[in-house]
Amino acid sequence: MSNSDKHDISTEVSDKETQQKAKSLQASFMSGKINRRDFVATSMALGVSLAGATAVVSEVEAATPKQGGRLRIGITGGATSDVLDPGKILDAYMINVSMGQVRPNMTKINVDGSAGGDLAESWEPSNGAKTWKFNLRKGVEFHNGKTMDSTDVADSIRYHTIEANGSGGSGVVSGIASIKEDGKDAVIIELNEGNGDLPILLSDYHLNICPSKGDGNIDWESGIGAGAYTLEEHEPGVRTLTKKFANYYNTGNEGYFDEIETLGISDPTARLAALSTGAVDAINNVPQKTASRLKSMANVKTLISTGNKQATMPMLCDIDPYTDQNVRNAMKHIVDREELLDKIFFGYGELGNDSPVGPANYFRATTDELPQRQYDPEKAKYYLKQAGMSSLSVKFHAADTGFTGAVDAGALMRESAKAAGIDIEVVREPNDGYWSNVWMVKPWSACYWSGRPTEDWIFSQIYYSKADWNDTHWNNSGFDKLLVEARAETDEAKRRDMYVEMQRIVHTDGGLILPAFLSEIMGYRTNISVPGKIANNWELDGHLCSRRWWRA
């Protein structure tokens, strides 16, 4: 899908000047400035073969989105208890339906990872990024015909700040001091402290824009939004049907399908069978084990994107033996990350370096700045000695809920730790209730994070000493101080230095073992066209596949 595969008519001509002409001709045809007849005629006049010219034409036509048709998505994360309440959205199924199809947010993440406007058109920070004015897109219509205004937007965001609503998005909006309407077409958000990342925060999957009821509450029950598709049928966790919304604000540029059918298929084998028999057109969450075999299926293509999704093994720094930094360092050295990536994740991912900042982050430390940690039982022994121990036995609590293959990963670590005199007992915990009984409860467990688009977000949510989800119970005052400073820093180079330093602190002192960043593996049938570059903030093109993909 990369550009190198594309046909280039300039290679057919020899002299430099004609090559230039051919290149600009192809560019203007591909961007739609000249029509097909003119393109073919002119390129032949330049000396390009007819075959070459038609190859370009067919490529361009294939890449031009077609309207119509149906997309059927086989997706994980559906449950019969799924509600339309945006504060209660938990997993892929509802994220895709709600944010992706029916109720878009103020902002979205572009394929290059930057924040882009969705229902908000533009924004201006002021007062050291403490005050933000968001200009809303004019004339956006909800599915019930109502025109969206600033009240709808303000109420939708405010909804998550109200404690009684018990929203899962409350953490994201916790920095918001107030949100006010500014006329019909703008809202002003005041933050407690400056944060340059606000537009990215507003793309969080909970913060869907719903119509206001007028009394400060929002109407989420009806499933009405301003998205490209209207909710027609919804059986929670099983099947959802949405249809094209004629008055969608961006009709013509995205949202090409006539209808989208979303099917909840939790079993991986069932999902693969559905894709290969053509019962669905696209699936998410292909198990790494079977990904290589997906490639051999007829009419099926594989999509891989590596973002910030990460497998982690948090150690609780306030429970012995992990209170000792030396023990934590010893543990970090007995993990053979390459073996884990190879055997547990089948090579689909990137090596982790005990820092949560990943491939989709802007300020990720390079391996020069922060050398890759290797499996080194001698070093582990050394650190153990520093801690005054000659051997150590610990328990690793895992379930596949933590991350797929967590129990197997434990079995591998058990073997690799033996060389350092560390005995690991792997305890398989039930999947059910894992997040309440095991994670952040047992001293060492398996976990995963879908990652965050900004460094500040992931650090303040998980590694800040007072964070609700500080799953390593880690408290480092130097780190906390840097975190606040970096947030307000406006000089990019300085900001980068600060974030790299923070990554170094987590890497050397934190309770985090991060073996790998995990790829999302998806499959789709060739009757669907997928753009050459897809977003890596979420699976299925940032969950906007129904807006960005089209029928081939």
């Binding site: 019969t80 799924d82 404690e163 009684a164 018990g166 069932a270 069978a273 209730g433 997040w435």
Partner: protein
């Protein structure tokens, strides 16, 4: 015959008692599960304030016995209550799924029960013959495989080659014949799972009766083996057979979660497992009650049939 009617009335009363005990047991079990709906909904994002807010909203902050009594009061008025997670009446949630589950049960039963009885009878008639061994071995092999595995094998052979769909995602509006087609693979999978048990019990029960003196008498009188089995042995072997059939039918209603997962079939089992997962007590209670009713009802039927067919039981007690 009045004996039977008294028995039915008595058993119905006892059945209701069973359901009551069961609802209490289930309620206590779900209560004993670590975590609650509030924590589960929030998952990794649970903060004490959020959890407390949701608990209050759902009434989870009330003491357990109050919630149980409230729920029981609702049931007595025919109200299953609302799903905690969905905040919608449970009856609307269950109705289409119950319909699906019953459809799959009947579908499977129509294939499996006659097949099992036939095979069992023929096997007892030709016991230790080649046919007996083959049918026995095949049936045993079929149930020795885990259900999900049989399902995968079915998908591999019949769905990937395009004969039958791998997903049985029916809904109540699906036309009848489409349902038959869509549910073919799950029905066959379940048939493989339940047939062996019924077949072997039929065979064993008949052979057991064949050893009794009156059969030997019939044998000595020169009655044909086929006639002995159908007219003399079968009626006296009905009790264990009917019991096993009832058990397996009940299993088809209640125990097919795994087949539902593999074939993406929207049935009751999945609903109950999700209910347990999310600690949605009313949903678990309602599904458990339905399962239990099916179970109690089928067993009552089995007992009635075995009583009617056994004159000794009719006379005594």
């Amino acid at each position: 015959m009045s004996k039977v009617i008294t028995m039915i009335i008595k058993r119905l009363g006892l059945g209701i008692l069973t359901l009551l005990l069961l609802s209490l047991l289930i309620f206590l079990s779900v209560e004993a599960l670590p975590g609650d709906l509030a924590e589960t909904i929030l998952g990794q994002q649970a903060t004490p304030e959020n959890v407390a807010a949701i608990r209050k909203e759902l009434g989870l902050d009330l003491p357990a016995y109050t919630r149980y009594i409230n729920w029981l009061g609702g049931i007595l008025q025919g109200d299953f209550g609302n799903s905690l997670a969905l905040k919608k009446p449970i009856s609307g949630l269950i109705a289409p799924r119950l319909q699906n589950t019953l459809f799959l049960t009947l579908y499977t039963a129509c294939i499996a029960v006659p097949l099992a009885l036939m095979l069992g009878m023929v096997a007892s008639l030709f016991r230790n013959s080649f046919f007996d061994r083959i049918s026995n071995t095949t049936a045993l092999s079929a149930i020795s495989m885990p259900e999900f595995f049989v399902g995968y094998v079915m998908i591999y052979f019949f769905a990937l080659s395009g004969y039958f769909p791998s997903m049985a995602n029916i809904n109540p509006n699906t036309p009848f014949f489409d349902k038959l087609y869509l549910c073919f693979l799950p029905a066959v999978t379940l048939t493989l799972v339940v047939t062996a048990h019924m077949m072997r019990m039929t065979r064993a029960a008949i052979i057991n009766v064949l050893a009794l003196p009156y059969i030997e008498m019939a044998n000595l009188k020169g009655v044909k083996p086929r006639r002995i089995i159908v007219h003399h042995a079968l009626p006296n072997a009905v009790a264990p057979i009917v019991n096993v059939v009832a058990l397996n039918l009940a299993y088809l209603v209640t125990g097919v979660v795994i087949v539902e997962i593999v074939f993406v079939f929207p049935g009751l089992g999945q609903l109950m497992v999700d209910g347990v997962k999310f600690r949605d007590v009313p949903v678990v209670q309602a599904t458990a009650l339905i399962f239990a009713t099916a179970y109690v009802g089928l067993n009552l039927l089995a007992d009635i049939i075995s009583t009617i067919t056994n004159p000794r039981l009719m006379r005594q007690r």
